[in-house]
């Protein structure tokens, strides 16, 4: 049975539609991550599942039971908030025990569960402290502890790591991943950080403008984005998106002319293109190659003349930002060290079997890497 089911769920604030019909089924034990930019509706959707926002239309089922109109506490969920939302007037122990006390558990049972949660989250030493005396990471662990003791059917995380510094974020990410492995509970996690999404999720739900854009395993979304939004959102550094025009199309082959001063032409395998169509070509930075100006380009690569704008050297990886006459700079990822210099004239090699093609509406078209 599905742990959580959303059926044509909608939400509007006055005349503004925030969630425009979402259908989604989340399996038991699954770790699902909602990603999207701010305003995409991901947090609203999570708060609707939690019962903190009303549902304008549609149904929400948890564990097969219709909870569309149920109180948050009746849904069998626990939630961890971005702001931690600890009770400032209670110490750590009471923060974790609060929901058990409200549910009228016995003293011994409460003590047992709080100690167990404290053990899992390594909070034993901190139980008598007040939230003000804790660091950000400790506060978030307390917030998670408060969620664990309820034995919820579903954990909801609303950007739980975005208030933490980078190092702590990595550590807490691993901790949440470990928690999911140990507890095996269904988890729904909202983030705008696509690294968190890629590393934690069994499935990612990419949301934009109140609609689901694509649902699938992280690498699926990375390798086969359904549309321009997902292509641009998943992956860091971002996929290069190059505007182009269809110059010729026949028998599943097409020639695209890039909108650049050089007028570079790219031959591709694609279906459904017709001459004159405006398209967008999507190329991941790691599939591009930098070739010295004037040098012969290896077979299978289309060369685009470009000038190096800037270079970022991270030690193991180098990112080069090139001006190829396209509206946006082209990002190229070079493994290891590279001696590229700003101002240098080079050629960018596009691998035609690694080019995603999107039509004017942003939907993906069949190509060698598409579907």
């Amino acid at each position: 049975m599905a742990a959580v089911e959303l059926k044509n769920v909608r939400k509007s604030f006055g005349t503004v539609d925030v969630i425009k019909g979402v259908d989604l089924t989340i399996d038991k034990g699954e770790f699902v991550v909602f990603v999207g930019a701010s305003g995409s509706g991901k947090s609203t959707l999570l708060r609707m599942i939690a019962g903190l926002e009303t549902v304008s239309d549609g149904d929400i089922l948890i564990d097969g039971k219709d909870v569309t109109f149920a109180e948050p506490s009746e849904r069998g969920i626990a939630m961890v908030f971005q702001s931690y939302a600890l009770y400032p007037h209670m110490n750590v122990y009471d923060n974790i025990a609060f929901n058990l006390k409200l549910a009228r558990f016995g003293k011994d049972e409460i003590d047992k569960r709080v100690k167990e949660a404290a053990r899992i989250l390594r909070l034993n030493e901190l139980l008598s402290r007040s939230p003000a005396q804790l660091s950000g990471g400790q506060r978030q662990r307390v917030a998670i502890g408060r969620a664990i003791v309820r034995n919820p059917k579903v954990f909801l995380f609303d950007e739980p790591l975005s208030n933490l510094d980078a190092a702590l974020r990595v550590q807490m990410r691993l901790e949440i991943e470990r928690l999911h492995r140990e507890l095996g509970t269904t988890m729904i996690y909202v983030t705008h950080d696509q690294v968190e999404a890629m590393t934690l999720a069994d499935r990612i739900v990419a949301l934009d403008n109140g609609r689901i854009q694509q649902v699938g395993p992280p690498l699926d979304l990375y390798a086969r984005p359904n549309n321009l939004f997902v292509a641009g959102f998943i992956g860091s550094p971002k996929m290069n998106l190059l505007p182009a025009k269809v110059l010729s199309a026949a028998d599943g082959k097409a020639t695209m002319g890039l909108d650049t001063s050089s007028g570079t032409k790219v031959d591709l395998t694609t279906r459904g293109a017709s001459i004159g169509d405006a398209v967008t070509l999507g190329v991941r930075p790691e599939t591009l190659e930098v070739v010295a100006a004037g040098a012969a380009v290896p077979a299978g690569l289309t060369a685009l003349p470009a000038r190096v704008e800037s270079v970022e050297r991270l030690g193991n990886i180098t990112y080069a930002y090139l001006d190829g006459g396209t509206p946006e700079v082209i990002t190229v990822q070079v493994m290891g060290h590279s001696d590229l210099q700003p101002g240098q004239e080079v050629q960018v090699g596009l691998r035609s079997d690694q080019v995603h093609v999107f039509d004017a509406a942003g939907a993906v078209m069949a190509s060698a890497v598409g579907r």
């Binding site: 971005q82 931690y84 939230p131």
Partner: protein, 295 residues
């Protein structure tokens, strides 16, 4: 290591600022200072010595005895009455305004805006304007000239509702309330277990303002109370002063209430307010919410 500060240079702008401040301190501070010093002086000293001459212990204790024992310790009865009216009124105004302000801040219901507007109107209406209708109302209920009547009338404190409303709509972290809802707190528990413990500063503030208003309330008490055993301090003292002729140049009589006694009585009215302020301001500093959310 000592911190270095730039040497203070006196320019014209700074001089004007300091001069203005010094004037304000003197203008408003001197009467208070005079009041406390004058309480220790004899009537003769008040008339002949320089304004800030210190009195004697003997003079002070004689004044004290004159004032407190006059008319069978009447002033102590009035002080006791004032305390009863204030404590009762403060409790009543807290019971009404804290939940009222919370409800206005935290829930959406039809008529909410209207209630807020009415609260504001009630707040800016001078309390003396409604004294007569309140008197008629209490008279009808048979409550005029009773403790309960004055307490009931003083518990009406729209300013407290408004203060609480502002506090709960700005200082109560939304995440904390959401979190408590997920934890299973019902509406009543949200208020009693989360909002109320976090509202200590505002409770202290409302209590203080309400106390101030009731303790020094003259007109309402004057209209409602006709039995001098029920008088509060302001009404009682006015009666005392006008009855004894202490401040008018009537021919001398044998009532022992003279100028020093009047000064001491004024101190008795001011002192509790000062003491309560010192006790309450500690709570008013809001440090309660740190650590709830990012911080």
């Amino acid at each position: 290591m000592s911190s270095r500060t730039a040497p203070m240079r006196l320019n014209l702008g700074r001089f004007v600022v300091f001069a203005t401040l010094a004037f304000a301190v003197c203008f408003y501070g001197i009467p208070l200072l005079w009041l406390f010093i004058a309480g220790t002086r004899s009537e003769a000293s008040l008339l002949t010595d320089p304004p800030f001459a210190l009195g004697t212990w003997e003079a002070f204790s004689r004044t004290w005895t004159n004032l407190t024992t006059y008319n069978n310790f009447q002033i102590l009865t009035w002080a006791g009455n004032s305390l009863i009216y204030s404590v009762g009124g403060v409790l009543l105004s807290l019971i009404a305004s804290i939940p009222g302000g919370y409800a206005l801040a935290q829930s959406e219901f039809p008529g909410r805006k209207l209630i807020l507007t009415l609260t504001l109107i009630a707040m800016i209406t001078p309390s003396t304007a409604v004294v007569l209708p309140i008197f008629l109302e209490l008279n009808l209920l048979g409550l005029s000239n009773t403790y309960a009547g004055l307490i009931l009338a003083s518990g009406f404190f729209p300013f407290g509702v408004y203060l609480t409303y502002v506090y709960f709509s700005t200082s109560l972290p939304k995440g904390v309330m959401d979190s408590a809802r997920v934890d299973g707190a019902n509406r009543f528990q949200l208020f009693t277990r989360i909002a109320l413990p976090l509202a200590r500063p505002i409770i202290a503030l409302v209590a203080f303002f309400s106390f101030l208003a009731i303790w020094s309330n003259y007109f309402l008490a004057f209209v409602l109370l006709s039995d001098d055993k029920l008088y509060n301090l302001p009404v009682g003292l006015t009666a005392l002063v006008s009855g004894s002729g202490a401040l008018s140049n009537l021919p001398s009589n044998d009532v022992p209430i003279k100028k020093p006694e009047v000064v001491l009585a004024a101190i008795l009215v001011v002192l509790p307010v000062l003491l309560i302020f010192m006790a309450a301001q500690r709570f008013v500093r809001s440090g309660m919410l740190s650590g709830a959310e990012k911080g």
